[in-house]
Amino acid sequence: MNLIMIFKVALLAIARNKTRSLLTCLGIIVGIAAVIAVLAIGKGASTMMVKEISSMGNNLVMVFPERRSRDAVSVGMGQGQTMTAGDAQAIKRELSHLVSAVSPTVNVTCQIIYQGKNWQSRVSGVSTDMPSIRNWNVGEGRFFSEDEERGYQRVCVIGTTVKNNLFGEDDAIGRTIRLRDMPFKVVGVLESKGANGWGQDQDDTVMAPYTTVGRVLQRSTFKSINMMNLSLHSMDDLAEAKREITALLRQRHRLADYQDDDFETRDTTEIMNTIGSVSSLMTILLTAVAAISLLVGGIGIMNIMLVSVTERIKEIGLRMAIGATPVNILGQFILEAIVLSTVGGAIGVAVGVGGARLIGELQNWPILIEWSSALGAFLFSSFVGLFFGFYPAYRASKLNPIDCLRYE
């Protein structure tokens, strides 16, 4: 008796008990479908995040003053006072072969008042390079000029959220708003960028020359800045650029060889690596959940197959009496289990893909279906059938034909 015949016998046996077969598959269907759907949603979310981060800027590198931690107490990133706008200008001047744009950044959160309305937002003191670094253009009006930057002019551009909250439909250009009671003239409105990967509204911002923000809003006697954003000519030069920036800043900060850096460089690849490791952790967890649900599904199959062996004991006896060898019986029941779990796996993949798409449609979530994981889940479900079908099939093959025929 060849394999095709055993297969046919198994298929016929399944077709004869459609309801029971479907119930047997159910565990596998639910398990596979859940895994496929959750993976699709999770992958969609992390892909979206990566996309968001790459949209943060062109070949973006950030330099922060030292993250100071003394006796395990972190003072927080950007809180050091070791970096100045002069550092940023030096990088722009001396490393222009690597760095295309530099913006020192000074962040202040303050109340913004226009006539009777007020709104709290973040005011970033930046340089005129910022639009090209962040790839963020002005929608209406203009960005402030280098003259205004050098001249400590009280001018600013505002994000659309700020504009909508203070001006509504009215024109904002040329109006004067008050930041910490200092009048600033609005020269432009930034294009809308929407929320970033963390759900933060990027349009809820005001940009003004770092010179003005540092002097007028921070009222800082030090010329320290919170960070710098720089744009490289090419991400291929990342390692070299980091090295040269480090060397230049160490020299400017007069650090001796034995002293640690008092600044830190970050780039988007690092952030992406972090997201990657978070998402691979998530994948591991999901895989564990998948394995457990398939285990449960497999136990379900084993259960039903054991019941099925007892229920069909006369059939087994008859088949043995007319010439089925123990191997034939073993093969029939294992194949039944494999077919059940594989069909269950296939239905599960279909339900999972459909379910993920439906959820994505309803919730407006990004969905990414990885067909390799769908294939993997499908193949694994066959293996589950083989594994959990073996014991019941083995029991069936060990039965004595006389006992089977006599069984009542």
Binding site: E315, L318, M320, I322, A324, T325, P326
Partner: protein, 229 residues
């Protein structure tokens, strides 16, 4: 000339309880080609054990069993399965057809395991056999749609599928009414005349009357061996 079936001092001892019980206690006999043998006896006489061993469904504790000149008393389960498939046909009291399966597929089953015929030839042979047992046109019926007598005919057709030299029947009319019983026994008689050896267990005298030879058993021993015709 060698016999189709030749058993020597066959014993089957069950040691399930405290005292070992000899279901077969040293039976010897020969059955020749074309004989129609009825094994009779009260329940517990050992006639079912006898049929099980002759039918290669069970193995004796000791003794020898030559089937068609080949020793089959000590064979593995796999070898016994192959012997049953190729040389023996079975007809049971409760028919033992696969439920929800058409008559024709039930008849085909022995060749599914043998794999001797192509799909088309197997179907043709199954149809021929159904015709021979008087069920042409019922091939697509499932057992539930057939009467007891018809089911037993399907079972006989199935037993003949692989052209076995010998047919074993265990109380073949036990579940049938008188009319169907007579029809089934007439069919056996025809098959016997065509040269098929039949070994049948029964406890009814009027059923045994169709056979050409009567074996009577008691307490695991053969106590009577009459050639009727």
């Amino acid at each position: 000339m060698s016999h189709l079936i030749e058993i020597r001092d066959l014993k089957k001892i069950y040691s399930a309880g405290e005292e070992p019980v000899a279901a077969l206690d040293g039976v010897s006999l020969e059955i020749d080609n074309g004989e129609f043998v009825a094994i009779m006896g009260a329940s517990g006489s050992g006639k079912s054990t006898m049929l099980n061993i002759l039918g290669c469904l069970d193995v004796p504790t000791s003794g020898s069993y030559l089937l068609d000149g080949v020793e089959v008393a000590r064979r593995s389960r796999k070898e016994l399965a192959i012997i049953r498939n190729q040389k023996l046909g079975f007809v049971f009291q409760n028919f033992n057809l696969l439920p929800r399966t058409s008559a024709i597929e039930n008849v085909e089953l022995p060749d599914i395991y043998l794999g001797r015929l192509s799909h088309a030839k197997r179907r043709r042979r199954a149809l021929e056999l159904l015709k021979r047992v008087g069920l042409s046109g019922r091939g697509t019926h499932t057992p539930a749609e057939l009467s007891g007598g018809q089911q037993q005919r399907v079972a006989i057709a199935r037993a003949l599928m692989n052209e076995p030299p010998v047919l074993f029947a265990d109380e073949p009319t036990g579940n049938l009414d008188t009319k169907s019983s007579i029809e089934i026994m007439n069919l056996f008689t025809e098959l016997s005349r065509e040269g098929i050896t039949i070994v049948m267990v029964t406890h009814e005298d009027d059923i045994a009357a169709y056979a050409t030879r009567h074996l009577v058993m008691r307490d695991g021993k053969l106590i009577k061996d009459d050639k009727v015709r």
